[in-house]
């Protein structure tokens, strides 16, 4: 097994609303190993994006604040790193791509400027060399006529092309960790497949560890080695992609899988999970999923379940797995 590149332990992030701190991430643990492709799955508001921003040191503050816990990147605790150190790491050792390629690129700078900026921040190279590297990065992400594209502006490119450019910016310094926050959500289905292929080859060929944030279990099944399921700011299930998709051990994961359309051909209606996720700070005791869970017992409403070992490298935060 590869050594871990990112280890988050007991992470707690609070957002203050009206002077009152609300915990949006609570007691979060996760590990990503070198070269691994890990999917983080959950509904909107489950805390997946904020977790990734915390790793990058980009949690908007105020109102956000990392209250406690550690984020170890290659052994270094990022919660204690200086802003300067974080800038050295960002875009260089670890980088990020975002959901909206239409708005994530700066509309008033050329593609070449925007890739070149990343290079020139992290490597001591001249303008010419930066330009050459930018063209190379564009070629690598499969952009035709890269020589011309570096002189163009984002509005002259399609959504899929812009996401490729974002990937080129994020990977131009060969990071060891790439965080992809719903990179295909805003794109056409055909383009989605191309971008996912690109991420896969990046992972296989360059050995970049990828943390893929998504709510699409289909994407996870296709791409990831490992899955982390998040619910209301906590990890509820974590394990090998195969065992989680085939044998989910948490009712929430099972419900998520149930709600994927098209798994059952003769089913007419789409299945949804009744109720909605509790707002931060509203569940003070017991399991956070209890109110929507059809298996919930009195114990679930009273005591917070720990993560139970349910298989080889597979954990689940559900009392149903106790003493099995």
């Amino acid at each position: 097994m590869n050594p871990p590149i990112l280890e988050v332990s007991r992470l707690r992030i609070d957002f203050s609303a009206n002077q009152r701190p609300l915990s949006v991430i609570d007691d979060l643990d996760l590990t990503i190993r070198e070269g691994e492709l890990v999917g983080i799955v959950g509904e909107s508001g489950s805390g997946k994006s904020i977790t990734s921003l915390a790793v990058m040191g980009l949690v908007p503050s105020p109102p956000g604040k990392i209250e406690s816990g550690e984020i170890r990147f290659k052994g270094e605790d990022l919660t204690k790193a200086t802003p300067k150190r974080m800038r050295q790491l960002r875009g260089n050792e670890m980088s990020m791509i975002f959901q909206e390629p239409m708005t994530s690129l700066n509309p008033v700078f050329t593609i070449g400027d925007q890739i070149g900026e990343s290079i020139r921040i992290h490597a001591r190279v001249g303008k010419k060399e930066a330009k050459r590297l930018a063209v190379e990065a564009l070629n690598r992400v499969g952009i035709p006529r890269a020589e011309e594209v570096i002189r163009e502006y984002p509005h002259q490119l399609s959504g899929g092309m812009r996401q490729r450019v974002m990937i080129a910016i994020a990977t131009v310094c060969n990071p060891s960790l790439l965080i992809a926050d719903e990179p295909t959500t805003a794109l056409d289905v055909t383009i989605q497949a191309q971008i996912l292929d690109l991420l896969r080859s990046l992972n296989r060929e360059a050995g970049t560890a990828i943390m893929l944030i998504t709510h699409d279990l289909g994407v996870v099944a296709e791409l990831c080695d490992k899955v982390i399921v998040m619910y209301a700011g906590q990890v509820v299930e974590e394990g090998d992609v195969r065992s989680i998709l085939m044998h989910p051990k948490h009712p929430y994961t099972a419900a998520l899988l149930e709600s994927v359309p098209g798994r059952d051909a003769d089913r007419e209606r789409l299945i949804s999970i009744p109720g909605s996720m509790p707002a931060p700070g509203t569940v003070t005791q017991g399991c956070r999923f209890a109110s929507r869970c059809s298996y919930a017992t009195g114990k679930c409403r009273e005591r917070v379940p720990p993560l139970f070992e349910v298989g080889n490298d597979h954990v689940s935060r559900c009392w149903l797995n106790e003493a099995k």
């Binding site: 975002f98 708005t103 509309p107 700078f109 900026e117 990343s118 974002m166």
Partner: protein, 334 residues
């Protein structure tokens, strides 16, 4: 970019023609006989007839208009009734004085206004933000003549730090080459005099620059607040860009279009001559030149002065439009 520039320049032609028609009509829109207005009620009929002939007032209006157009195209702006000199000759120094003061005022307004707006947006709802925006509000609301008088009272009369009147010490006049005293003193290597020229610029410059500064600060704050919340700012940070560059490069270039619009409009207004400021500070600029022409009913000067100011305004707009395309490349592709 070249095609965009040519297109914008071509659009000037109808604008300038329209302006020339309006300016031409001024003298004809005044009720009564222009020759009587120019010469006064007691003029002899012979003198009036003579002026009619020399001004071409007996010709049909379109003949008059085209000869007027021919004259201004050739640089002939007419002759002042008061001084009997060619307007094109005497207007230069006044324009230069106003231009120098405007540049100084606008540099002050842009530097302070843009930076205050940026800081306010960057640290929104902080004490700096509240203070800066309160000052900006006072700045736009304050009458310029009052500010000018207060400055003179405090800094010239009370503290005796700065001169209150004129462009330079009257006992040591600048040997004018270009009419721009800053440039002239540098060319003459009179650096002691350059210092004096700068001292004379400070008070009127601040008085004239305060309103533009306040407007620029407010517009900058609004634009920067929006830009800083954009996703490309998060992208820039995720690349490891230093916060200073995130603000001054990534956000500011995006927020600059409305700021540029305000800068252009305010510059045009100041160049049009700030009559009040120029009068209070004894500044021999275009505002006072026109003011005295209006008092003396010197119609050719009024007419040409308006034309010159209008042309300057149009030129500033052209420059602003060309700069738009630099700041936002999407504009030239439309």
């Amino acid at each position: 970019m070249l095609a965009y520039t040519l297109r914008r320049v071509a659009m000037l032609v109808p604008v300038l023609l329209g302006m020339s028609i309006i300016v031409f009509m001024i003298i004809h829109a005044i009720p009564g006989d222009p020759a009587v207005i120019i010469l006064g009620q007691k003029a002899t009929p012979e003198a009036i007839a003579e002026l009619h002939a020399s001004l071409g007032l007996n010709d049909p209006w379109y003949v008059q208009y085209f000869s007027y157009l021919k004259n201004i195209a050739g640089g002939d702006l007419g002759t002042s009734i008061q001084t009997k000199t060619a307007i094109s000759k005497e207007i230069g120094p006044y324009l230069a004085a106003t231009f120098e003061l405007t540049v100084f005022s606008m540099l002050f307004a842009i530097f302070i206004g843009v930076n205050a707006g940026i800081l306010s947006a960057w640290r929104r709802n902080s004490w700096f933000d509240y203070t800066a925006m309160l000052i900006a509000l006072i700045g736009v609301s304050m009458p310029v003549f009052w500010l000018g008088l207060m400055e003179q009272w405090l800094f010239a009369q009370h503290l005796n730090w700065l001169p209150s009147i004129g462009r330079v010490n009257a006992r040591d006049p600048v040997e004018s080459i270009s009419g721009f005293y800053v440039l002239d003193t540098i060319l003459a290597r009179r650096f002691d005099q350059l210092e004096d020229v700068f001292k004379h610029l400070v008070l009127p410059g601040i008085a004239m620059g305060t309103v533009p500064m306040a407007i620029i600060a407010r517009i900058t704050r609004a634009g920067m607040s929006e830009a800083m919340a954009s996703e490309y700012i998060r992208t820039a940070r995720s690349k490891g860009v230093h916060e200073f560059m995130v603000v001054y490069k990534h956000a500011l270039k995006n927020a600059f279009i409305p700021i540029l619009t305000v800068i252009g409009l305010q510059t045009g207004m100041l160049l049009g001559g700030a009559v009040l400021t120029e009068t209070i500070f004894g500044w021999p600029g275009i505002g006072r030149y026109l003011y005295s022409a209006i008092s003396a009913r010197d119609y050719p000067v009024i007419q040409s002065g308006i034309l010159v100011i209008a042309v300057i305004f149009v030129c500033i707009n052209l420059v602003v439009d060309l700069l738009y395309a630099y700041f936002d490349p999407r504009i030239k592709h439309r």
